[in-house]
Symmetry: C2
Subunit: 190 residues, 2 copies
Amino acid sequence: MRVYLAGPDVFVPNPLARGAALKAICARHGLTGVFPLDDLAGGDPPAWDALPEAFRIARRNEAHIAGCDALVANLTPFRGPSADAGTVFELGFMRALGRPVFGWSNAAAPFAARTRAAFAASQAADGTWRDAEGMLVEDFAPLGDNLMIDGAIAASGGVLVTSDLPRSQAWTSLDAFAACIEAAARRLKA
Amino acid sequence: MRVYLAGPDVFVPNPLARGAALKAICARHGLTGVFPLDDLAGGDPPAWDALPEAFRIARRNEAHIAGCDALVANLTPFRGPSADAGTVFELGFMRALGRPVFGWSNAAAPFAARTRAAFAASQAADGTWRDAEGMLVEDFAPLGDNLMIDGAIAASGGVLVTSDLPRSQAWTSLDAFAACIEAAARRLKA
């Protein structure tokens, strides 16, 4: 079974070493990890030659996802209270293909609490929380991120695994990833 | 033609009025706008009764998207340099269904510049930009957001329309939306 490894792991200082580490954990559980920086089997289609590099990368990642049986997303908050935008796009893409999606995060605090703290939100007279721009802060307390993300993971039969770690370990610890892969392997073989 | 109106417009102080305003602009161009807060035709399936409210909302939005011919996403930066996570998920979902996706944003500065400014990024010896956590800042200068988002819009035949406005008008101006709907209507009738 092939598992697409979505996440901002492509942005760490040594992304190829990170990809190898993630794939080794997958292999221990009988899964083949596909990292976004991998080449496509057979290379890129010639029709993509004229595309700018960024758009070739986007097409390649879409093709990787379409060729996998499941997706495991690193949902550790990235430059804000939510996960990396590219990762979230890919999770939505796989969800629409009807295959299982899983998440892991090195932050355990719920999305609502993280957002309220980061944006100095205050409670309006009607009880809703609003940020400084007046925009509603979703208040679905146990969720780990926007409800579309947690909802897709639950609806697809996936799980979200979190580690309660100091922020300094956000981009290094793979404990939650390993636990998520173990759960994904169990689910995919069931 | 039915167009799903993805965006943090559901978080403004009066989201029903916002939805009505967006739908009125769609109607002027012969399109039917579907707002995330709309009921499903026929109501929710009884199988969803046991779900928590957040997960019912997620299922409903997925069903709305599946029932539309195209998606138009409000990609105005939301609590960080990227678009709202739920919106990005939905854009990825529709892209995987193979239908056109469009974007509009009330910020015109490219993603790379916005991210570097918001996260005090610095340039490493190898020329790459890194944030304070050492994570790479994508440097594809003309793109409006993460390359998966711009890539999907381009690959699907959509467009991204931006308005160069002060941040105080981020959640009020509908000029970019109106221009985006006009482009979407042209494309969908072609």
